[in-house]
């Protein structure tokens, strides 16, 4: 299967600041999540892939074609930038049709496509409102609409779920999942792991301009399991539960928390912990109010991977 995106030792620096360092990757059709904390190099990579930045070194290809100065390639690419890029004094409809007219579409076809795209992101009823009156979520949906409207084969979505309410997030997630079924290639960036997890198992982890890991999300989870996981619990008898847990070999540390009903557990095998916990709850008759994983976020994953 041919990769839609290929980069080979791609590097980009801004003066003394390194944006990307020898990034070699392949993105195949389907959804791929590009993950990394703020400033990791996600946007730099996306801007190179959308032809807005020229690599300092290395090569970036889309469908085997060079990207820089290959403006025809963008007939088939949709890009949703991270930040707002609107003329505030235009309506959503004018904005979208104006952008569509940059493609070789007739006015009627552009209007039809704009209508379909706005309907897809559920903005059709607000199409004649000025963008300056749009809420943050509406703006985000409009950005997604402009990326989709020309029916591209490759979508590059930079933080597409930012600023959306839970319902809006669910809609966009559903929409992106539908794109996968149309054999499209979607590369989307996010620094929020659960959002990406809801969309795809294929992930590229980037940090400080370097690719830390890429592949199936379960492989990544296995990698995380090589480090202790922190699990916080709130129950009625935390001391008794702590005493029982320390007997287990996969429990590395148990600490009573700041609250009288809280307990913090460190384990190197989260799966075994979570299979044991229901048994203990039943056997001991515990009332568990809350279970959270304070280190279950991307930043924590990165901290482990970079050896902090």
């Amino acid at each position: 299967m041919k990769a839609a995106i290929q980069t080979d030792k791609l590097s980009k620096w801004y003066g003394n600041i390194l944006g990307l360092s020898e990034v070699s990757l392949e993105v195949r059709p389907g959804i791929t999540g590009l993950l990394g904390p703020n400033g990791a190099g996600k946007s730099t990579l996306m801007k190179i892939l959308t032809g807005q930045l020229r690599p300092s070194l290395g090569r970036a290809l889309i469908w085997g074609e060079k990207i820089w100065n290959n403006f025809r390639l963008f007939n088939r690419i949709g890009y949703c930038p991270e930040h707002d890029s609107f003329y505030e004094q235009t309506t959503g409809w004018q904005f979208l049709t104006g952008l569509l007219r940059l493609f070789p579409f007739s006015p009627a076809e552009a209007a039809g496509r704009a209508e379909r795209a706005l309907a897809t992101v559920e903005l059709l009823s607000d199409k004649d409102r000025l963008i300056r009156g749009y809420s943050r979520g509406m703006r985000q949906r409009l950005k997604v609409a402009q990326a989709l409207a020309h029916d591209p084969d490759l979508l590059i979505l930079d933080e597409p779920l930012n600023g959306l309410d839970p319902l809006g997030k669910r809609r966009i997630i559903r929409l992106i999942k539908d794109l996968k079924n149309d054999n499209k290639t979607v590369l989307l960036s996010s620094h929020v792991l659960p959002e990406v997890e809801a969309l795809t198992r294929d992930i590229i982890l980037i940090h400080q301009g370097k690719i830390l890991a890429s592949g199936d999300i379960h492989e990544l989870r296995d990698l995380i399991d090589s480090h202790p996981h922190i699990i916080a619990l709130r129950c009625d008898r935390p001391r008794e539960l702590a005493a029982r847990l320390v007997r287990e070999p996969f429990i590395l540390k148990v600490q009573l928390g700041g609250q009288p009903d809280s307990l913090i557990v460190e384990t190197d095998n989260r799966d075994r912990f979570f299979s044991l916990l229901p048994e203990l709850v039943m056997d001991m008759g515990l009332a568990v109010d809350e279970i959270t994983s304070p280190d279950d976020n991307l930043q924590a994953v990165f901290d482990y991977l970079v050896g902090k």
């Binding site: 801004y14 600041i17 195949r28 963008f74 007939n75 930038p81 890029s85 003329y87 104006g98």
Partner: protein, 289 residues
Amino acid sequence: MTIREKGYHHWDGQFLERRHPWWPITRLGIRLTFKRKFFKFIFSSSLLPAVVFLAGIYISERLEDFRGMARIESLLLNISAKYFGAYLTADFLLFMAVIILVFCAAGLVADDLKHNTLQLYFARPLRKRDYLLGKASVVFFFLFLLTLVPGLLLVIFKLIFSGSFRLLRENPWLPLAVLAYSVLFTLFLTAYALLLSSLSRNGRAVSLLIFGVYLFSDMLFNILYGIFHSPYLGLLSMRTNLKLLAVPLFGLKPPLGLPWGYSAGLLAAVVALAAVVLVKKVKGVSVIR
């Protein structure tokens, strides 16, 4: 079945290309300019000189009906190539052109920089030159409506009112001169406005710059000329330089006796500088260091 199992079907289609990719940018720019407050009034006012000059042509051909005005005949009603030059180099016309630039051109690039719109433009099948041509065409549109269109209409009305082609027989190059001056005038002002527009993200600051540089160049010339009395100080004035461009085209008397070539060179240098700066400043992303 997942996508991976489906495999990727290689796309065999052809990349289509829009014939005039700059046109949607121009159209949007014109539409947004007309939406601005007071612009329609300002633009209509800027056509006032054309109406006055048209009246002059009419009166010149109907002198019998306007005997009372015969005293100013030699001053106003001697319609020659200079008459059309006088229209195109009128101070009021340049003033209104600058006001129109403030409305239509100040935000052309500045707003795109402010709203990060360039990244959306350049993530589409659009070259930098298409983008710049689209933006420049917005200014061309308004300034041609102020110079070229009325200039040519005045020639046509002169022919209609006089009922003869004598004007063209005596000045066969006149329509070309009107075209050439309108193009040069518009080209310079477009480059000037887009250059300033690309220097800031703040459209209002650019508006002030566009008007300020025009005004200041003239004030500086007047002050320094008052002190040093050197005609070459006229090269500091945008108004004088543009008037000098019309000298060889309409056979006008050069202001301050300056050679027109100097002004042509100076204005060409500004256009070249604008082109270099625009190519450098207009890019999809701005890099924060």
